[in-house]
Each structure stands twice: as structure tokens, then as C-alpha cells.
Subunit: 411 residues, 2 copies
């Protein structure tokens, strides 16, 4: 028999949580460690306390709620996500994974099901990275990937440190963050893209995450007056910009799994009657296969060299800024998600995550998998972000099913 | 016999004026109607007063210094330029035309030459347009091209109105600006481009000014996450930007007299991992022939239509923002400049002005011409702006010669 979560309770809680830090157009703004972020956590804590799930906190502000199993020493099954949002965030990104996790714990309690293993609901601090960088901070520290001191020293735009906000909210006396040993980590999330919606499938079986490489590129010419200086005597970087755009999009066009984005472009000084002295731009390359991503990197570097030769008057500087390697989730867990979806009657679709998630850090410490549900028009980080009650409930049902399978196993 | 100005006196005054509002690197900052702008005017007034040249002011802050001729009722010969600078301006742009004009008046006085006509030195308010828009404000109002009320209402970035600053400096009780009748207007200026320097010529005979057309173009796509959304499903405006750059530079490459500039380019929202929802850019088209400029305009419009058809997912908005028609200076005066340069032994070169000048407004009211001298590397609006003492003196000698020819004529 297939157990089901209470879809109405979960939906009502999603709407209630969205009222903490509400913004126009049905969105939410709960920036990391702000009063609104803490108020969101307090609401969650009140719901968990009402069901008797024990709370543990750590010194970076991560929260862990436990429903005990038969064997208190068995490695726990972890579920979770984050409650912080983008400045103009929606009601589902992060929040769904947390509240569906609570729904799983409550459903087990409602059914009075005794699991072998404890089940822990994790809430990670600062997944978004909007107020403090880097993103995925709490999970990064707890997994030993991001140095704790570096996280504490991170400042927001107003110069307020993470450490100051942790003290303000009383986290500083908690234990040093360390995820320790666990059986596995499972995170439910909206897709943030249009693939599931376009495919008509309900459940995304996330087999891993794209590798990402970031670059800053600048083209240095010579700033001159748009009137008196003949075009042949200028050192105008703009025509070279067109070639660079073509290069990047050509690299992205060779393979449907590749993603190439020029997110920032700016002419400096940016005056209508001044030939720009400089162009500043960024390039974001992604691919689910590390070897293919490496090939894209080399194509970009080779293309930049060729362009430098073809435009000797313009200096091209290309600086690699970040490399996040391809993440592969646990194949057994992905199989489990697939079979649970099948048993529950939901059409499933294998996919990789294009966005970053706390699960990427967890995957370096334990078997990890993610479950995606469709979101409308692929829109996220936006008040318009929307996942239907049916999709939300389907994702939580699959999460319950996966958790039950693992939590019932001995270990 | 050829009369000559005093090159050392002129050079010393250029250096002295540069000390009013000095900025690092030998530049000057005298923003329109600032205390520094007024201090520069006070220095000029003191020099003119010492030689007895009568001062007249008007209600927009233009200054006129007169050396009387034999016939007080004859139409005067006007020379002049402006003393205001860009925020990081140089020592020559504008200032040269004013101080060379003073040098002409003084040389006539030194030589005790009685001209038929009065000779007036004009100082125009706010040629640069850095603090208040539009540029060429004082000449525009005096020539009846820019409505006086519109000029008075112009505000700087801090909300201070031109009218407030005029009151603060005591101009508000002066006569309403009106250039009235005059024999002609002659303005000496640095070239602000590299043509004279590259040609090895000393004097630019400026036969007119380029026509200018300005456009704002925006490309509207759809903002999405750089990770989850496949490239084929995006509405990314960046590839279309490359085609637009090619279009504009192709239009500019068909004719060596054409100038095409994309001065502003900005991807919105401008985040490294977000596909831009919008590109904002400007286009500046110039040509010395109005028919050719019109053809460039149509080529841009046609090209934009073609692009809109080729990229149906992206909306292209193109908004013409300004059209400054081609200016033709007086052919007789241009001949006079050419023959004066020849008589003085300076190599001359016919050219059109790529930048805007007060003389463009004056040309609609009276015979007008400009004289250019080379500037180093074509650099202006920059502390590095430099014209040699020889070039400065040569320009002032030609100015003197032209003024003498016209001021000695009866009228």
C-alpha cells in the first residue's frame, strides 16, 4: 500500500509561510538571517514543536528537526532545503523542500509508523547567497567544504557580518557545524526550468548537477569622441564584442546539453557620443558532463586567442573566476526515486539540475538525490514562481516514499 | 604686411586660466555656473578691464567684450567660444577660442589699429552640457533656437536650476539674450580628433558640421536562469545584439566620412548567472552630408526591421531621439580662412567638425566659420588634452587675420 501525505495541509503551510516577509505579487522576501528569515524559522519551529520533533541548531544557523526511529543509533535519513529567499523571491524555491520534509515527518507520526532510522528535517542557512556570499553557505560549512571562518566573515552590502547576525539571533553558542554521518540526503525542489512542464511529466529524477565555469572578459580599446575620430582610426571594442557573442553562442549551439550565457555586458564609460574605451562582460558555461565542459572551456580559450590575433588594436583579457565540477547523485537513490514515482503512478523524467543546491555539498558526504516538480513557465526567483497543489503533493508523496524505503532499512 | 598675435602672452593666459578649477594631470574643471566657472569669468573680465574693453552681459550669462571701431553703428565682427569645461576637462577646449579672441582684441589695441567695425569677444554659457542639458545653451538662447524658459528650467543632478544659479551670480537683471545683427562669427577651437595631426597640417578650415542622429534601441527577451533553461527554449537577446552591432558597423564601414558609434550597451538585470531579459543600447550616426545621413538612417531602420523578422522571439524597439542637421558654414568665410592661412605660411586642410559647437547655432543667424588647430593624439575632454604653443599661436594668427579683413570692411 502506498502512503500519501496530506496535500491540503502542505499547501496551507506553503501559503502561511509566504506571509512571512510578503512582497507584492504573491512573492516573499526573507533574506538570510534577517528578522523575516528568523520569523520564518520561528513559524517552522512552532509547527515542529507541536508534533514533538526535537530541534538541534548549529553555530552557522542550520536547523535539524528529528523524528526518532526504533534504533536511536542508526544513521538518520536526512531531508530538507532552505527558507531564505531572493530579494524578490517566490513561495516555493527552498520552502517546498522544507515544508514537504515536515509533511513527511508528520505523515509518519499521523500513521504512527515506527521507522528503523531517525528521520531528520534539515534547514540550511543562506542557500540563496543574495545577502551574503557564497551561496549554499550553511550546507557548505556543515559538510566541511566552506571554511567556517570564511562564512563568519562574509559581509552584506551594508557591511554587516554573518557572525554579527548569528550572535544577534543567538546561534553563536551552538555546536560547530558538522553534518556527521547519515544514511542519505533527499531534497525536493521546484525545477526552476521548463523541461518537466514541456515534457508533461510530474516528477524529475535528478541524477546530478551541471558543471559550471564562470569567466570575466574585458575588451580594452581607446575612448574617443563619436564625432571627430574617423572609424578607421578608432580602437573601438564593440565590433569585437559581436564576434565574442558569436563565439560563446556557437559553443553553446553544438550540443543541446550545453548552456552558455553572457549575463553581464557593459560598455564603459557608457555615453551616447563616446566610443567606449572598454567592454566588461561575463560568460557562464555549463554542461552535465565534465569532459564536455572542459572541451567548452578550451573552445572559449582558443576562440579568445584567435580573436586577439584578429583584433590587434584591442586587448582581450579573459579571467576564469569559478569552476564548480559536475555533481553525480547516487545512482541507487535515483533508481529508488524513479521506482517510487512509478509505484505512485507519476510520470518521471531523468534530468540534471542546472541550478546549484545544498544537495551538491551533501553529495560529497553521503548518498544524495534530488526530486524535482514542474514550475509554471520555468519561472523562479520571482514572485510569479508557481507550482500547482497537485505537483507539490506529488513531489511530497515521492519524498515520503523514498524516505520510508530508506528509514525502514536496518543500519 | 601680416600682423601677428603675441604667442607667449596667449600661452601664459591659457596656463593661468587652467589654474582656475585645476584637477590632477594638468586638467581643469569649471562646470557651468559653478563658483569655479564664475572665477574663470572674473579672471577674463579683469584682463579685459585692464585694456578697456567694455563688458555687456545677458540674462543667460553670456558675456560680450567690445573693442570699438571707427563706425560705432557698423555690424560687429564676433569671435569667441566658452570657458566651461567637462568634469575632467582639459586646458584648451573652449578656453582657446576665448583667450585667442582676447588676444586678437589686445593685438589690435597694441598696434593701435582702428577698424571700421567693432570687434566683440563672446563667451557663451554652458557649451559643454555636462552640468545642465542641453549643451550649447547660451548660444542657443541668444540665437533664438533654444527657448529661454526651457534653459532656465534645466536642472543639474542635484536639482539646482539654471535659473537659481543665474540669480546667485547676479545675471537675472541683465537683458533678455538676443544676438541681434552682426557681420560674422569666427570661432577658433582645437580639433578634438586626429585628422590634422595625421595630415601634418596646422590649420583646419572648417566648412561645416556633421549631421547627427541619435537612437535608443532595446531588445526585449525573457529573463531566465542560466542553468536550468536549455538554450533552444530561451528568449536570449544577446545573439541579436551581435547582429545589431554588425549592422551599425556595416553602415559605418561603407563610407569613410560616416561615423557610427554604439556608446551605451547594457544587459539587464546584469547578473552572471541570469540570461538577460533586456539589452539597452544607443546608436550615434554622423555624416557631413544630409542626404548620406538620411540614407544611413534608412539603412538602420531597414536593418532593424529585418532583424525583427529574423528573431521573432525578441522584441526590438528603436526610438530616434535627436536629429541635428548638417551645418554648412559660410563659403566666403571659409575661403578667407584658407587664404589667410596661406598668406601666413600655414598648411591648411578643409574639414568638417565632428563635435558640436556654439558656432552651429550662430551659423543660423549670420555668416559663420570655425578654425581648427591640431591637438595631440586627437584627445579632448580629458586632462591630457594638449595643443602646442606653435599650434595655438598659428590658430590665433589666422583668427586675427580673418577678423582684420572683416573688421576693416565698411558696413
Amino acid at each position: 500500500m502506498q502512503h500519501r501525505i496530506d496535500g491540503e495541509r502542505l499547501w496551507a503551510r506553503l501559503l502561511a509561510m509566504a506571509q512571512i516577509g510578503p512582497i507584492p505579487g504573491d512573492g516573499s522576501c526573507r533574506l538570510t538571517l534577517s528578522d523575516d528569515d528568523e520569523a520564518g524559522r520561528a513559524l517552522l519551529i512552532s509547527w515542529c514543536a507541536a508534533r514533538g520533533f526535537a530541534l538541534r541548531r548549529d553555530a552557522i544557523g542550520n536547523l535539524f528537526f528529528r523524528r526518532q526511529g526504533r534504533d536511536a543509533d542508526a544513521l538518520p535519513v536526512l531531508v530538507g532545503s532552505h527558507l531564505d529567499t531572493q530579494p524578490t523571491g517566490g513561495r516555493f524555491d527552498g520552502v517546498l523542500g522544507v515544508l514537504a520534509g515536515l509533511e513527511v515527518l508528520e505523515t509518519l507520526a499521523d500513521l504512527d509508523l515506527e521507522t528503523e532510522r531517525p528521520v531528520d528535517l534539515c534547514v540550511w542557512t543562506n542557500e540563496e547567497g543574495s545577502r551574503f556570499q557564497p551561496a549554499m553557505m550553511g550546507s557548505g560549512v556543515a559538510c566541511g567544504i566552506l571554511p567556517f571562518e570564511q562564512a563568519l566573515a562574509a559581509c552584506d552590502a551594508g557591511g554587516v557580518r554573518v557572525a554579527d547576525e548569528l550572535v544577534r539571533h543567538g546561534y553563536e553558542r551552538e555546536p560547530v557545524p558538522d553534518i556527521g554521518l547519515a544514511d542519505c540526503y533527499v531534497e525536493l525542489h521546484i525545477e526552476q526550468g521548463p523541461i518537466l512542464e514541456n515534457s508533461g511529466k510530474t516528477i524529475g529524477v535528478v541524477t546530478g548537477g551541471q558543471g559550471i565555469r564562470w569567466y570575466e572578459i574585458s575588451l580594452h580599446g581607446e575612448e574617443t569622441h563619436a564625432g571627430p575620430v574617423p572609424m578607421a582610426l578608432r580602437k573601438d571594442p564593440v565590433p569585437m564584442l559581436a564576434r565574442l557573442i558569436d563565439l560563446v553562442h556557437d559553443i553553446g549551439g553544438r550540443d543541446p546539453q550545453a548552456r552558455c550565457t553572457i549575463g553581464q555586458v557593459r560598455a564603459v564609460p557608457g555615453s551616447i557620443n563616446v566610443v567606449p574605451g572598454r567592454i566588461e562582460m561575463t560568460v557562464d558555461l555549463r554542461h552535465p558532463d565534465e569532459i564536455e565542459l572542459e572541451a567548452m572551456h578550451h573552445a572559449l580559450m582558443r576562440g579568445c586567442s584567435d580573436l586577439s590575433r584578429n583584433y590587434p588594436a584591442i586587448r582581450l583579457d579573459v579571467a576564469p573566476r569559478w569552476h564548480s565540477p559536475v555533481v553525480r547523485f547516487d545512482a541507487n537513490l535515483a533508481n529508488l526515486v524513479r521506482s517510487c514515482a512509478e509505484r505512485l503512478g507519476f510520470a518521471a523524467h531523468d534530468m540534471v539540475s542546472g541550478a546549484g543546491h545544498d544537495a551538491f555539498h551533501l553529495a560529497r558526504r553521503m548518498p544524495t538525490v534530488m526530486i524535482f516538480v514542474p514550475c509554471r513557465d520555468g519561472i523562479s526567483h520571482n514572485p510569479q514562481e508557481y507550482a500547482s497543489p497537485q505537483a507539490v503533493a506529488a513531489g511530497a508523496d515521492v519524498l515520503l516514499s523514498v524516505v520510508l524505503d530508506r528509514a525502514m532499512s536496518r543500519g
